[in-house]
């Protein structure tokens, strides 16, 4: 009895201090999130229901017209589909290129070489996104680095004319977001026990079967996480389409940017942003069962 008394007493004491330390440790992070994410988002949500920017000397009232505009104008829906298609294609290409790369990093290469290759994956992250996009303009433009290289490789290759096309936007975005896919896939691939693969091989499974039945299912959480991390920012992107896409670079993201910077119609820009957000949420809700099974 005496023993149990002495053991429960300190535990009772510890509980409140535990809660306090949880609060002390997580509090700043949540406070930061509230101030930097939720408050501006709430302000934008409020703006999206106004008729004009609520500044002095401007008439404004509450309205649903900004949301209605999206459904009245066909071109907003066309642009929405284009943006979603872009997000899907960029995520797909990131998977096609990033997954083999992550596999090699996780399973084939060991030691210092792995570190060196990792560095090469991460280095683009350290440079400004704008610089990366402008570098692409030098590579892709007519008689640019890529065309000259191909012409040197295959004389008389001719012109690709990639600059200012949809393909140029995809190339630029895939390059920007590829590290996400490689890193998330690498993490889930490196947790797969090598013995599982060896066992499957010793029982006569072909390489393709191993990939299909063991590696892909077990690395699915990483693939899904990477795809989501890429899909969401890409559908709202505006800088890459504007610089690389030229005439073919109009997406919902660039139209939203126009509303904020060119015509000073924040309410409509905010409303379009929230419609985009709603679309993303609907897509995730539809794919929820698949996403949950995958992770």
């Amino acid at each position: 009895m005496a023993v149990s008394d002495t053991t429960t007493a300190p535990m009772n004491h510890r509980r409140p201090s535990n809660a306090r330390s949880i609060l002390a440790l997580t509090g700043p992070a949540y406070l930061w999130l509230v101030v930097t994410v939720l408050l501006p988002l709430a302000a934008m949500f409020y703006f999206s229901f106004l008729s004009d920017v609520p500044l002095a000397a401007r008439d404004w009232h509450a309205t649903l017209a900004n949301y209605a505009a999206f459904f009245q104008q066909d071109f907003y829906r066309t642009l929405m589909w284009r943006s979603l298609r872009l997000g899907f294609e960029v995520a797909l290409w990131c998977f096609v290129i990033g997954f083999p790369c992550a596999y090699v990093l996780a399973k084939t290469i060991k030691g210092r070489w792995r570190e060196a290759l990792f560095l090469m994956v991460i280095i683009p992250f350290w440079s400004n996104a704008l610089i990366r996009v402008f570098s692409w303009t030098m590579v892709l433009r007519g008689n640019g680095i890529l065309e000259r290289f191909l012409d040197w490789l295959i004389p008389g290759f001719g012109s690709l004319d990639l600059m200012f096309t949809y393909a140029a936007v995809v190339i630029g975005l895939v390059h920007s977001y590829l590290p996400y896919m490689i890193l998330t896939c690498y993490i889930s691939l490196s947790t797969i026990d090598d013995d599982l693969i060896d066992a499957a091989r010793s029982m006569g499974a072909s390489r393709l079967t191993v990939l299909r039945r063991i590696i892909l299912p077990l690395s699915m959480p990483g693939i899904v996480a990477g795809a989501v991390l890429i899909f969401v920012p890409v559908i709202g992107s505006f800088m890459e389409p504007r610089i690389l896409g030229g005439r073919e670079g109009t997406f919902l993201g660039t139209v939203i940017e126009d509303q904020f910077t060119a015509v000073f119609n924040w309410p409509l820009g905010a409303a379009l942003s929230f419609i985009l957000l709603a679309c993303v949420m609907i897509i995730f809700a539809i794919f929820q069962p698949i996403l949950r099974r995958a992770s």
């Binding site: 500044l55 000397a57 642009l79 060119a262």
Partner: protein
Amino acid sequence: MKGHDCIRFLTLAVSMASMTGLAHADTIRVLNWQGYGTDEDWSLEKFEAATGNTVEHEYFNSEQEMLTKLRTNPGTYDVVLINSAYTQQAAEEGLIQPLDLTDFPHSEGLQARLAHNPNLQYDGKLYGIAWLWGVTSFAINTGAFDEKPDSLMELWNPAHAGRLGWRDDAVESCQFAALATGQDINDPSDYDVIRERLHALKPQIRTFWNSENEWNQYMSSGEFDLATYWSGSAARSKQNFGLPIEFVVPREGAIAWLDGLSIPTDAPHPEAAKQFIDWMIDPEFYVQWDTEVGAPISANEKAVEQLPEGAFNKQLIAQLKEVKSLPFMGPMSDETREKMLEVWQETKTFYQE
């Protein structure tokens, strides 16, 4: 050290005041685009030496921002640059004060149709002093043309498919189409025709440009054969960057714009502000600015006359006398602006398909 500086400053101030015969020197605050004439250091030094007044600047990035700054900071600014398409709106909101041309000695040289431009007037009173003007048209890469074109329809010429640079701006795009179809650029009557003209540009456009810097980059890397452009910027691209371009004034006309200098309603130093505006329309300032830096056309005819022979703006003004129509960008209702934006966004979406 401090005391020493203080005495030096006082002596300087007193000697300057006695030199110019002024009771005291003011610091005036100017609201303008950055790098648009009023903030040239050499001119401000001379202005200070001549009048004792110093000049501080604040900048805006859009007309809307300029109006917002005037609304939210009354009693802060002494001089503000307002595009004449917005002067009436600013006057109507009570943001700027009426002016009298006789307070500005150098205004005698101003071109009459600019000095008394209806867009600078509101309720029968003058609210802005005409300062600079120019036209929006297009420029060609001389290497891509055997002969300089003289028609606006060159923009739609299939020979330049995929070689046209176009500014991504709703109002300017619709105004080009309005000009090409003979409509009022400030209030077009037939948007279907405008839409059809803009849709027809689809095979022509290489890419959109947004700033002068971008324009120079695209033109020098050979992306454009021809591109819409502003006359003042064309002068700079040619003179300062040595680009092989020619600015075209089409026979159908061009979109003209006029910038005026105004004084806000509660300007703290209205007298110094008037001196500064007069300084700005002085031919002496303009000639040096245009020859050393490059500028739009001065509203002061005497200033343009004093430019050296062969100067870009001198040639331009001669060409502009020949054109059929020179409509000025004027005040525009919110409905017109929104309609133009809608037509332009719909057109850009059409370009994707």
